[in-house]
Symmetry: C2
Subunit: 260 residues, 2 copies
């Protein structure tokens, strides 16, 4: 039986709140299994772009990454946030090591082709590009890799890359070597049967149940891309996907998506 590997993805909300980030990292240190952390951006980069007089451009909820924006997001994600998370994990006794996709060539991506929208320096992860050998080496050495949402194209270009996609790409790529659990951590306790009732967390969802919940409109529109992505990861060999509150990862209330 292969070892359990837990991949935790945390989003911008928690990155922006120092107290919550610190609480999440303290809880994470209590997770005994091998683990990887993937963090998103947060509002800091947008704030700094504004302070420097560079207006963030958004299309369909996504930031357009021009050269100046790429510089700032690289600084924030790979510099400030990544090193802050690593230093706080070290404080909690977790031997964290920060990575972008360029480090150790661990995730390669391709600049998104211009169709209707030119997203700029945004990368789509190349299939089968995750360097699983390096990650296994680091995990075996007792390290906890901490990924920021920056990758590269192997030709010297850094690329802004969706953190959810990084987390699920890592989970799929490592599934042959570990029993991978992919944890999407956010501000709610799980997937809610009633968006207005925080206590209506659905404990478990199979692919069949998901189709029904989607058809009946129980699952809110905003959750659909995340869950589609999650079920695709399960189909690709990931053992389970967990949707949970970032501050309650060691508590039992959460939604577990399973293969059957």
């Amino acid at each position: 039986m292969s070892e359990v590997l837990k991949i935790f993805k945390i989003g911008g909300g928690i990155i922006d709140d120092t107290a919550q980030l610190s609480q999440f990292l303290t809880e994470l240190a209590r997770v005994p299994e091998r683990k990887i952390v993937v963090h998103g951006g947060g509002k800091g980069a947008s704030q700094m772009l504004q302070n420097l007089g560079i207006e963030p451009q958004m299309v369909q909820g996504r930031r357009i990454t021009d050269a100046a924006t790429l510089d700032i997001v690289t600084m924030f994600y790979a510099g400030k946030t990544n090193k802050q998370v690593v230093a706080l994990l070290q404080q909690n006794g977790v031997n964290a090591l920060g990575l972008s996709g360029a480090d150790g060539n661990v995730i390669r991506a391709t600049k998104r082709p211009v169709k209707d929208v030119d997203y700029g320096f945004v990368g789509d992860i190349d299939e089968h590009s995750v360097e699983t050998g390096l990650l296994q080496n680091l995990l075996r050495a007792g390290l906890t890799p901490v990924f920021c949402a920056i990758t590269h194209d192997g030709q010297g270009q850094l690329l802004n890359t969706n953190a959810d996609t990084i987390a699920s790409s890592l989970a799929r790529a490592l599934a042959p070597f570990y029993q991978v659990e992919l944890h999407f951590c956010f501000e709610k306790d799980g997937v809610l049967a009633d968006v207005n009732d925080e206590n209506s967390v659905i404990a478990q969802i199979t692919p069949g149940q998901y189709q029904s919940l989607k058809a009946s409109g129980v699952i809110a529109a905003g959750m659909v891309p995340k869950l589609d992505n999650a079920f695709a990861a399960l189909e690709a060999g990931v053992e389970r996907v967990v949707i949970e509150n970032a501050l309650k990862i060691n508590e039992p209330v959460k939604t577990i998506l399973c293969r059957s």
Copy 2:
């Protein structure tokens, strides 16, 4: 006979010049031995501090690192510069992996105690704190660690740390395991016998010769701390220290400091 490990330290001047940085990294890719890169800061961080209305404070040529400054230098050194260097090395076929001292707990430091001057969040490296096991593991895996000038105290605090000191601490710590060559790369071809004559590079300096050159005033005052540091590294077991032009690392003209 142990393997050769070359540690290259590059300074701010070359970081600020994209064409020169790219040229240095292309030359570095031609160095066949195992290697580590340590990079300093550059003017970008100061420029950004100014653009954000934070005046850089200097005392005796050193930046005072308050909390706001630490944020910006961490972003620049560990984010922008480090990831740019890593991505360019990857482009040149060198499997680089960026590190701060916090990553893998690889270099711990202590916040400099306040005496006459409060330097703020500046770290002095703890003796024997370099995690040589992790570095050997990375080097064996064919990776080239790329260090920025940020360390941590193990208690969650990042610290701005002198890049020359990081390079020589790494060199000393790794000396028991490799034949370590410490290369200080800058804009001149080596130590000059006549500061006004770029062609007066002294090919080799022993500790005895260094004492004479210092006594006779041949070695310019600005070089003394760097060379004192270099000879201390030799005494601590480093095989040789090389002072050379960052753009000519594969050419024969350079100054070699040797133990005897």
